[in-house]
Symmetry: D2
Subunit: 344 residues, 4 copies
């Protein structure tokens, strides 16, 4: 199958090229951006001699004529405008941006501070949390790929929310992310001299991934109240850790909770639930499509601590996008995603 990639100004587009360069079923047919005629390796020298394409302008006719799938690796606000061009064409769409994730358009406007796409367009998109929505993804033509923070958070919370074992108003997510999530457009805040040896908290209670998390949690369990969600910027390239706190509804043992997670993820190859007492670090998933989960229960406070780690560019973006494309095209979801974490 042939794939087109739109957008290379963030790192998600580059990561898609890293994944698809060796994919046995998908090949990179074309790479699109507003800049034209520049070889891809000029923008990304690490792809020298690997991706031979030149960047091209977006031409929806040509893309749809030549490709089976198009990946939008664009900033928010772009796919909501471009998608209509593809509406009547024979091509599957995977949108990595946040534009099509929120069913409530007012929420989009409130949190993204941008004009939402039309209701009927948004409604056609299936939310691609691969592990928990596989059946719908399998029949989807248009797919909205989850955000990096929501992926880690939701995979960490799914078993306890679905089984209703935590107090609905007790959820606090303290999330930390590597800086590649901030994209490739230069800004003072992402300069090495500013972020190196640093840790910053940002968008306190205001991150646009909050409604995405709450939408899925309440889909699973209508009783769940608003969550507290904090985001910190780490001086590393890749990786997200979500440290999640929630109070148990009733007394349980760590063994019971651990069994719940083991059962929930036993047939889901990209989620690795660690043994009791073992906790994942972000480097242990770096470059791979894994989400690693660790668990701890504090008897003194009755609080559960869930630690979920992913590579924000892989399971949090390009990796999950390809996993979803695999499912959409009826091939094994692991195809082309056998990346061993790169350590050190």
């Amino acid at each position: 199958m042939k794939a087109a990639i739109i957008g290379t100004t963030g790192y998600g587009g580059a990561e898609l090229m890293r994944v698809l360069a060796n994919h046995p079923e998908f090949s990179i047919h074309s790479v699109h951006t507003t800049r034209d005629e520049v070889p891809v390796w000029n923008e990304y020298p690490h792809l020298y001699s690997i991706v031979e394409n030149k960047l091209e302008k977006v031409d929806s006719e040509a893309i749809a004529a030549n490709c089976d799938v198009v990946f939008f690796a664009t900033p928010s606000g772009v796919s909501s405008k471009l998608i209509s061009e593809f509406a009547d064409k024979q091509i599957k769409i995977v949108d990595l941006s946040g534009d099509m994730r929120l069913r409530n358009l007012d929420d989009y406007q409130t949190w993204y501070k941008k004009q939402p796409a039309p209701k009927e367009v948004v409604n056609k998109f299936v939310y691609g949390l691969s592990e928990w929505n596989k059946e719908n993804i399998a029949t989807a033509d248009w797919l909205s790929n989850p955000g990096c923070y929501p992926t880690a958070t939701l995979l960490g919370l799914a078993p306890v929310i679905k089984e209703d074992i935590v107090k609905p108003d007790s959820i606090i997510i303290d999330a930390k992310s590597g800086i590649s999530g901030a994209g490739r457009t230069p800004s003072r805040g992402t300069m090495l001299a500013e972020m190196n040896e640093n840790l910053k908290i940002y968008k306190v209670n205001e991150h646009q991934h909050i409604p995405e998390i709450e939408q899925q949690l309440t889909d699973w369990n209508a009783s769940i109240g608003p969550v507290t969600f904090s985001t910190h910027l780490l001086p590393v390239n890749r990786g997200i850790m979500a440290t999640i706190y929630a109070s148990l509804q009733k007394e349980s043992t760590i063994e019971q909770v651990h069994t719940l997670f083991m059962d929930a993820y036993k047939d889901k190859p990209f989620v690795r639930v660690r043994p009791i007492g073992n906790f994942p670090s972000i480097k242990e998933v770096s470059g791979s499509n894994y989400c690693d989960i660790g668990l701890q229960l504090d008897e003194r406070t009755g609080r559960l601590t869930i630690i979920a780690t992913i590579d924000n560019l892989m399971k949090g973006a390009a990796g999950q996008a390809v996993q979803n494309a695999n499912i959409m095209f009826g091939i094994d979801e692991c195809t082309g995603l056998n990346f061993v974490p790169m350590y050190p």
Copy 2:
């Protein structure tokens, strides 16, 4: 005044030398460790031509005869054994280790997994959270310097705990620390190749600073229940950020909470309460004795987020130790501590 420093295997001892090298009232008389006759600069080449001392074995007689104050910058378990040698001598003691902080000796045994010092020795130590215990510090001969995590946490929580405005069982502290807090003894976990590009959670619900935090919180407000406290290791040298969550007892505005903090810290030169909407990063206090505090209130959940940042080797160790020594000797607490944060 003349100072002796015991212990250089952690970075606290080296930081004490950095601070005292230019202190107008204290001078470094001697530096002690188990190694003998080695010039200090062999261990710490950055002190070449600055600290001319050779390392000496600990000789309590000589130290007491020559010095006005001795700083213990030793791992836990050392000062509890050594302190008795100084019991009958004319010398003030500042202990940077955790040995003398917990009044409940069972707690020490439980959390430190070591034999505590005798009750009557521990009782003679005054807890040196400079901003909130200044009167007792002023008359102390023996001082127990707070831990790095407790310093950030307690300075962040003091105003709301003392004023009883948060629910007593709602406190969650998600703390992140630079690696210098782990000391200078080589271990796999602190190697650059293991921690670089990494973020690790450790000692989940088991950190020995938990009882220290709870002891002070309940001293301030007996209603406070056990706290949830998580610690993460950052790939940076210095810095602690405590992201603290607590639910308000009753509705307040961010302006009211901010005013509470401004009032609480208005005469405390090393605490900088940031304006509403402005949040401190760890680098903005690096190398200085400041504790910077930011505040946010989430109306959706009724939770307060308090962000407190310090340099773990300064306000979290050597800086606060010298601040306390200043107070103990009746000089201005800021003396010799006018370090501007080093940025970048």
Copy 3:
């Protein structure tokens, strides 16, 4: 084919597992170390659920009976002792250590300060600089894999040394390496707090890779004199850059020199000669088996600057080892090595 790996205390062993885990022809049969019965993932949690082996003691009989090839990823001094056990057995050997690289045993003793292996053993090893010794590698049973610094240096120098276009006594190599090359045994010098925000020069004129470099250079061109070779430790996990200076024998243009390199490497898929004016950085080869080369000529001084970058754990260790194993077993040298550099 089945592979055994001996040695996991350095990162070379772990990288071999990362490469072989997905190799279409080789599978990991067993992993050996002095520790026994511990699952591999205990030592390397990133391999959880990927490498299911337990560590085993070295049993040469069993290894030879079960495997087609054994990789030694051991510190210097180990394979020189262990190799004799394999001498009479039907198994190919790839030695990643420095023990079998120097034909002159006195040089080994001088630079490694250890007892060399017997002459007849060393002589049986073929030096595995894949790009320049392919024919001999193809028929080798015992292979000595080049050091990381020599790989970058020799690939950078080969074209000009073979064509005799630089002055034989003018070669200066200023090399910089990520810290994974220093292995996984904890030491003060490799702690994050010591190396982060740092750059260290070490083993000035005394690095054990000097005789390895000179042996190959004089094999290519007997006129080459001793080289100046400096090594610096970078605060990064992976990557080597060799900045090489040499004076031209006679006037040339940068175009002529560039053409020489393009011709030399045109059929060598892992060497990417960059266009004139474009220079490789270490991150642009990270995680891959590429060696990237950049060139500059200074008309003011008549000196050529050659920049060669590799990932020290891949082309400098495990990657080249697998490339050599591919050649030794008669399969395409690129098999299982299609790693796209991980960026960022």
Copy 4:
């Protein structure tokens, strides 16, 4: 004395504030930039409550009326335009930019690719390599502060060039710098995601500091030919290491060379010549005004290796600027510069 600082878009201006904030003789009177009325701490939150000034537009009349000295911490091309406004006024000038360093105006145009200042203006500036031009600095009104690379390089080379003990055409300088030298204007190349875990070579043979180095070397020793000078960007905030190679004119011992350096720098408090066999790292001078020098001699090649390290923002910019201002105003050159390196 009162000081004005012009320019805060690079980190040199911020570092001047860090140094002057505690200087016993100079105080910060005003800080100037093209932005107006913004508190300094908005731009540099680490200076919150320390530097209370608001940024002001440049008004040469007011500056000269109120201040004794003005520091230009501006990018190249700015002071060459602004300086004329101060020509007829009673105020000393310290220019940290490269505009006034090259006596040969053609060189300025060639290497900086900008219009030079008028000859008579440039001629009035004294070159402020504090250790070697102290007498001229003492009587200077207008001072041109050396570049960061030239400072490390020239302090490393001075003894051997002045004594004429190295071959005039043999000098190669392989320099490595932290990223703060690149300024604070966002660009792709200085983003954390691009430079972290990276090492880049840049401006090969084309760095504008080359003519500055050669100008001083030939002033000291007319026989010196063009040098080879390479610059690499490190993933650290601060620090320069110049690894300098030169061939000895005649045989010497390392002891003789070391004695030469010890003698040359015995009364120069900011240069620390390390003992034989001991080499400085960049972190060991971080935050201080020291230049540390290490030496090695290779008998195999007859080449001397000189390692010189500085903090590029201190001895390479603000520190040396204040050292020069001290000398210009007749006070001890060390005044206000007793910064102990911050380690770790």
